[in-house]
Amino acid sequence: MAQNTRRPSILESLGQEIIGIVVPVSMCMLMVVILVTVLTSNSSSSSSVLTIANIIESSSDSSWDKFVGALLYSLAFVAFTTVITFVLVLLFYLRYTKFLKIYMGFSAFLVLGFMGGEIALFLIKDFSIPIDCITFLVLLFNFAVVGVLAVFMPKMAILVTQGYLIIIGMLAAYWFTLLPQWTTWVLLVAMSLYDLAAVLLPVGPLRLLVELAISRDEDIPALVYEARPVNHHDSGARGGVVRRRVWRERRNDNSNVGADSNSTANSGSDESGDSRSNSNLNSNEIGDSNPDGCTADNGHNDARLVRAEEGQNSERNEELSSPLLKQVQCPGQEDGVSSDSMVLEGIGLGSSGAIKLGLGDFIFYSVLVGRAAMYDYMTVYACYLAIIAGLGITLMLLSLYQKALPALPVSILLGVIFYFLTRFLLEVFVVQCSLNLVMF
């Protein structure tokens, strides 16, 4: 038989896998940026934005007041997320997997149907698209139901599932960008710190979830993006080793409380309602020996709480996010690759050995970039590069530590730093250079 003497280098396979996760993240961010620019330029300060904003902070407040308001909101949100995550851990521990799956499907339906519908209505109004309600309802219904099936059913076309997960991330992220400015930034920082704590502390909910999943060798039902597995033909005898990686990413799905009412006075009680809970999901994957099985796919379901208010529904999403865990196991590989690189390396491993990334990470990255887009495109580029760099760093850390790691902190903190640096330092520099015709 012909000998396969040329081994694909680690860079090829690793690069392919990284691309498999960077491309969907980038697409999600791009779509959120497009939505933000299209919808905010057309309807400047829509009433809905002011409504939410006025509950938490109004533009007439002083900086300190705004900061305090934002801090309170973020703390309430993080607290809510923690509670919901613990509830999810409890449910998973008590083996209510069916319930979790149904909940996940239900929340996906709400996101796709209601949030997607609202955004579609915004677009229809802005562009005056002459679509009638029957067609619109049929299309929306189709879109939402097939999305739920894609998320819910274990085996569906990979492209369809991936596309729908990206769309869900995009829709949820757009709604988060409607929060007022200070709140968004403080919330992002708070969520990344929470992610760090929940994944790394021994008492953290996500860590508990991962350990539960590992000990039971089960998958956590959750909204987790899974990249297509890359086949590494490095071990010929096996006919292509499938590297299994485990990546648990945190998925934070924050649903904005859209409908919150302007009317109500009790903003305090609303705060908890508004916040979404993020749950971190840790999944550890093991073993190739059971490829079907248990790839550590722990994901929390996306919990969405619906609150009816004045006939409108405000939705809260909870997503379980799993920390980044990298594990790669190649059964019996004997090729030249060093054993330690094969042992446990990988981020998030799906049952078929693909990289997994939780949807909450998609959402928060897109929220950061969307908020940067509301200022200027320069900040968008800077934040995008910062986030991708953070993602790469997190992957490297994963291969270094080989245990569950949170994916949010590095990227979000880098992104926030770069946003403020760009906005306050770089922009002034570039504008002055352009005005003086030194550099365009």
Binding site: N4, N142, A237, N262
Partner: protein, 141 residues
Amino acid sequence: MEASHTDAEIPNPGPNPSPRRNPNSISLSSAVWPTIDGPLGLSEEESLSYASRFYKFGFALLPWLWAVNCFYFWPVLCHRRSFPRIHYYVVRSAIGFTVFTALLSSWALTFAIGGEHLLGPVWDQLVMYNLADRLGLTSWS
């Protein structure tokens, strides 16, 4: 030290025990999987149940589900002789999707292009942005 394998021969212990061998193929190792994902997709028995379920659910005003069905089982449309039973459902899904899309798009285009002078005052009542305004769907207030 290593023999090279074709993709189809990967002994993936996953959900696909074995592909269907293409009886008309000359090469020994060409195998056809029923789904577009190939070895990552479904086995033939599961494919049959999935295809039939998608076909039946599509009757609940879900042409997009029929389209996804056709997309997912695209190899079945290409190699119809290998998968006769799945092909039955996939072809009917394709026909259903085409018919439904033709009907829906003809109605939507009539509505959009005809506009008021064709439909009269009903147009204003049916068009989505007016309806959204009337029901207050986009104002959140």
